[in-house]
Every structure is written in C-alpha cells, then in structure tokens.
Symmetry: C2
Subunit: 164 residues, 2 copies
DNA sequence: AATACCAGTTGCATGATGCAACTGGTATAT
DNA sequence: ATATACCAGTTGCATCATGCAACTGGTATT
C-alpha cells in the first residue's frame, strides 16, 4: 500500500509537493548560486547548518525527482559531483522572486539582499543570462559572454567591503 | 530557552522559513485565487484535503507572521473572515512563477494549468492588475477596471467545458 | 426545544527533522 | 607499509510536525 501519488493536479500544489520543505530549495540555491558541487562542500559551507543525514536524504530525493544529477569525479573515486538539470535551472525566476520577496518582507541582512535585489532589477534578461550560464556550468553548453554570477558576486563584495 | 530566531539572513532562506512547509502556500493560494475567506470554506472546499487541526495551526501562524489578518463577520458572531495583507498580496509574482514552473515540469492537470499559463503569459502587467484587484477585495482599496481573477476563471471554465 | 452550523481542539499514530557519533572506502605523506 | 586525513554518507535516538477521527462549546435556524 503506497501513499497516493499527489494531493491534487494544481501546478502550485505540485510545486509545493516537490519543493515545499525546509531544505530542498536551500540545497538547490547553494548548488546554483554558490556552485557547491560535492556533498562535503554543501555540508561544511552551509550557511544554515544542514545536518549530514538531511543533506544525504535531500540530495537523493532531488536526484530521484530529476532536479539534480549525480556524476563521479574523475580525480577521486569516492567523490560525487552534483549538477543542476534543466528543470532545476528553470527555477531561476522562482528563486529570484523568493529572494526579492524575502529581501522586502523579511529581515534579511543587507549584504545578502544586494544580490537578490540586483537579480530582481535585472528582470527576465538577467534571469535568462543566468540560466544560460548555468547551462554551461552544469550541462556543458557553450559559455555565454555575460556572467551574471560574476556580476552578483562583485556587487556583493563591494557591499560587504563598504559597510554603509 | 527559545530556538534561534533564524537560520541565516539570506532572503531566500527567510522566505523558505516562512513559507517552506507543505501547507502555508496552499492556504494562501486558496484565499487569493479561490477567495476562501472562512475556516469552513478553506476546510471543506480544499482540493488537497487539509485537516482541520493543520488548517487552524496555519491560519494562526500566518496571522502571527502578518500574511493574513483575522476579522469578525458581522452576520455571525462566531464567524471569522481571513484577509490577505499587503505582504501576502505581493506573493503574486512568486505564486505565478510556482504555477508556471509546476505546469511545465510536473504532471499538472490540463484545466488547472490553463490559469497558471495565462497568469504567466500576462507577465508583470497581469500580476499588477491582480494585485490591485486583491487590494480592493482584501484591503478595501478602490475597485480596478480590469478583473484578472475573472479572466482566469472564464479561461478555466472554457477549458473545462471544452475538453480538448 | 431540537437541529444544524461554526471555528476550532483533543488524542493518538506515524513520519520528518535535528544532533552526535560512527562507518568503510580512498588518497596522501612519511 | 603505516599513519593520517578526506570523502560520502549511515545509524541511533530524541523531538517536532503532520494526518486522521472524534469531539467541544458557542451561535443561528426552525
């Protein structure tokens, strides 16, 4: 007796079912914006302090539902590399909106808000640019001229160095 | 000894902390798009079958964090009316992206996808229109000429009547 | 006075999360 | 060859969240 497949066919509900827990989107965010590709990186560099069992569970689940893919690292047999899949890359607009909303309505730190606000202001043009870049990093697509990640990073560093 | 206020100051994380559970966004969706305003409506008309204790807990929590407000219904002393607050209304773009992503990458039902796709295609113009409309319904703002909710509803009904 | 509606609450089973310690395989240095 | 460190997890256990069904006490209707 397995549990019913889905609660409903509503697109919002299905998205919530897939990503509506306290950690899935955090893991995807770290892979996407922090370029964390190994278990250990995700574990040790985690801002929110994810536990290793939860991380293992989420990585497995995200691979199963097709949001991450797991490849071996040639330099180390034990090492696994996690990559975003196309569906995960298409979460960029969603994450951009989440960042925008959070920076507006929650008490987010100023430096971290900079990136969210920049990505919001960039709009669909910036999102597309970021998605192209992620396709080159994670799916082996040709490298685009523009690097939105570099733009976000330099804006963040500027804000961090220049504490108002 | 209370638990730490937040896991991190990242805007995405703060949004996940507030909405990253299986029910909060479902409740907000029903109030927003289904105009469910009472406990009983939310409970009985729930597509996903929320349990009454969970609904009570979420309504309370959403009121506490300022996404819903709770008012009394003049026609019935016992009856409570829940309304969206401005921060919740500003979740429109986020919900629109969730719907768009879900209709593209999950097996959502065709009729329910129609609305999500329409809202996506409408873009920021439609989102602003919807937000204005919600401000009139929930916050007593003047009623706008355009009704995005009516547009979504008639598109849905057309699709439901005309099964491909 | 009886019935139905309303917004929840209670009790209990099950599952998800959080924490710390541990495992077994792999590379590196001596 | 041996010791050390790295790597991706696993295990055990406590606590918290969710799911289900039955129940509660106040309010309106007939």
């Amino acid at each position: 007796m397995r549990k019913r497949a889905h609660r409903s066919g509503c697109p919002i509900n299905l998205t919530v079912e897939m990503l509506g827990d306290p950690w899935s989107l955090i893991v995807i965010r770290d892979v996407m914006f922090g370029n964390r590709r190994h278990f250990g990186e995700l574990l040790r560099l985690s801002e929110e302090g994810i536990a290793s069992n939860i991380l293992a569970d989420r990585l497995g689940r995200l691979v199963r539902v097709g949001l991450l893919s797991r490849g071996g690292d040639p330099t180390h047999k034990q090492k696994a590399i996690y990559s975003l899949t196309e569906p995960a890359i298409q979460l960029v607009p969603l994450l951009a909106q989440m960042g925008a909303w959070g920076s507006r309505h929650a008490r987010s730190s100023r430096e971290l808000s900079i990136r969210a606000k920049l990505l919001e202001q960039g709009g669909p043009r910036a999102w597309d640019g970021l998605m192209k870049e992620l396709r080159s990093i994670h799916l082996g697509a040709p490298r685009p001229r523009r690097s939105v990640l570099a733009e976000l990073q330099s804006a963040y560093e500027l804000a961090a160095k220049h504490p108002d």
